[in-house]
Amino acid sequence: MSALVEALLGLGPQMAEHVLLCAAAVALGIAVALPLAVWASRSPPVARVTLGFASLVQTIPALALLALFFPILLAARALFGEGLPTLGFLPAWLALALYALLPILRNAVIALTNLDAELIEAADGLGMTSWQKLRLVEAPLAAPYVMAGIRTASVWTIGAATLATTIGQRSLGDPIFAGLQTQNWVLVLAGCIASAALALVADGLLGLVERGFAMRRPRLVIAGALLALAGIAGAAVSLLEWRDDARETVVIGAKSFSEQYILARTIGQVLAQAGFAVEYREGLGSAVVHNAVASNAIDVLVDYTGTLWTNQLERTDNPGRAAMYEQIVRWEADTTGVRVLGRLGFENAYGLAVTQETAHQYGLATIADLARVAPQLTIGGDPEWFERPEWVAVRDAYGLRFAAQRTYAPTFMYNALRSGEADVISAYTSDGRIAAENLVVLEDPHEALPSYDAIVLVSPRMAGNAQLVAALQPLLGAVDVETMRQANYAVDRDEDKRSPEQAAEWLLSAIPR
């Protein structure tokens, strides 16, 4: 329980940014939706088009909508220059505002088009101009319904804004994504409680405003609006204090799995000791993370050679570990300006693992050894493995022919190996369970499996920062796969779990520096 309280208390900055992001998004949604609604209420074709568009937007999953703004803003740079941010606040703001549009627009259009016909006849008959009619009659009468739409939009936005974490905007999604990946349910719960509480408070305050409009009690309207504005102002002020820091801020990115969280914290601790102010953008989608570092949205990132080789260089060949690394370094320098600082020392590659007993029994050290005895053995893999090019490559390079081939959910693969249902399994080489189960990862002398060297990338903005480079230098070549496995296992295991921060502390104490 105290862990939960502690987690909740640590969410101050996330809460503040979440509040500001949602307030800005709903404000933009209102600013766009209300004039559109007035126009739509006077023209049925406009109503059809705008409501149709807003409904269409709503059918796009929020996660995809957020991610879509990355390429859109990237394209918009042609118009607005290279300074246009493609990650973080701007895309999150725009996507959420678009998401907030529908409930506000729909309620406002319905309210305006369903006003009592007699009141409209009276307004016209008395000689109101179109503007007077809007101001004196339509707006006040539609206000409670419009407010109900704003209320719905706010609650939706507060929920959807947790996804802004994936495009590098700090939000209450940070603990949720971090917790989900490291199976730290206290963190997940803390994030959910915080965002649900925020949604309830916003709903309550806006409900007060709505009731005030409906009951024609201006004091309720003012009270609700003032309290909501006070909350937004409080969030802004708390962030001002937060940002009031003369030190240079380095933003460290992480994709959404345990190893990434641990390494981000490891780098963060090293940089903090070197005098940098450190911020984290964790849980980034793997599709946007490389562009994030290339566009200076984040400054430091650990990525993997094999991933960059396929996704960024768009290569399908396998030139071998050293050549791949060198080509990536050159490619980054030439095309993105990202500096590849060096290799951490371990790989998170695909590999084939066996138990100590199996290795001993058949005398297995390499995949070539395995090929000899494969016809007597059963191989297990996760459902994806047997479809991947890596499997085809290793199978053909060594002429692997197994007696049987079985697929398991990743968690059950290790059980299958332990129980003898499978003799060999596919594995990620830095997976903590390899250390925990004391497995042997077979060597790959033909280098048939592409290498996935963990490398440190530095954004173009920070590439020339000698102090930063010097601070990170001791980490290069210092993290061997055994150490990484143990750190990963400390976070992933079910008993006696460590947070990524604690695992990072342990990692730093365990490596030679």
């Binding site: 016909a117 009276a122 008959g125 008395l126 000689g127 109101m128 006040p140």
Partner: protein
């Protein structure tokens, strides 16, 4: 037109059609200042459409309406409507404004503030307690609401009062009282009044001139006395027969 004083309100070959339906058919007519004109006819005879062409709630298909010698289509419609009092069956009091605010609305549209004393006068004109100015319309009875509607229509100091079935939704007693009151206001304030009604008895009791409409045309244009004497033709006499028949049957019961 048809006499020495120029007509206050004049229809010149006015027509209005909706798609294929002709609601008003080439109506030409002159109304002098001070007349109380009732427009009577069955539902769909075009009487409301004709009335609404005056304050442009309906735009005519062809022909003109002249008010004080000027084509009503000449200026912006809002300006025109503020000079014309308009009362209709739906009343249309704004629920978010007090009675006083509703009454003061037409001057407000011109940027003027109606003094509380003037609001009180207007409420007294329609026999309402001036203290009601602070109430909300929902707290009023149907008859009281329509009285406020009349007061609101008079607040713009207009000399022309248009009424579209103004008492149609009221109970018979309230209806009779309010009709009488409006007739006296008409005389007292020297208004020109056009009232659409489907009730011939009401028209005969209140108006100085009764127009009977049928299928978009004016088929009778007579004083109440002339109509009761048998003038106006078939359609008009059929309408008069309704209250006559009722009166006869009531007399029969009491005997």
């Amino acid at each position: 037109m048809n006499g020495a004083p120029p007509a206050f309100l004049c229809f010149d070959r006015l027509s209005k059609s909706y798609d294929s339906v002709i609601a008003v058919r080439e109506v030409s007519l002159a109304i002098a200042a001070g007349e109380f004109v009732a427009l009577v006819g069955a539902s769909g005879s075009g009487k409301s459409t004709l009335l609404k062409c005056i304050n442009r709630l309906v735009e005519p298909t062809s022909g003109r309406v002249l008010l004080d010698g000027q084509d009503v289509l000449a200026g912006p419609p809002a300006r025109l409507r503020r000079r014309i009092g308009y009362v209709f069956q739906g009343v249309g009091l704004f629920p978010h404004m007090s009675v006083g605010e509703n009454v003061a609305l037409t001057p407000r549209l011109e940027g003027e503030v109606l003094a509380a004393a003037r609001i009180a006068d207007l409420l007294e004109l329609v026999e309402l307690d001036p203290a009601m100015a602070d109430r909300l319309p929902t707290e009023l009875s149907g008859g009281q609401r329509q009285r406020v509607g009349v007061a609101r229509a008079l607040a713009g100091d207009s000399h022309l009062l248009l009424m579209d079935e103004p008492f149609g939704a009221l109970d018979p007693i309230t209806r009779g009282q309010l009709g009488e009151r409006v007739r006296r206001l008409h005389d007292q304030l020297e208004l020109t009044t056009l009232m659409v009604t489907h009730d011939m008895a009401e028209a005969l009791l209140l108006a100085t001139r009764v127009l009977v409409m049928d299928a978009g045309c004016i088929v009778a244009d007579e004083t109440p006395q002339a109509l009761l004497a048998g003038a106006g033709g078939e359609v008009a006499q059929a309408l008069i027969e309704v209250p006559r028949e009722q009166a006869r049957r009531l007399a029969g019961i009491s005997e």
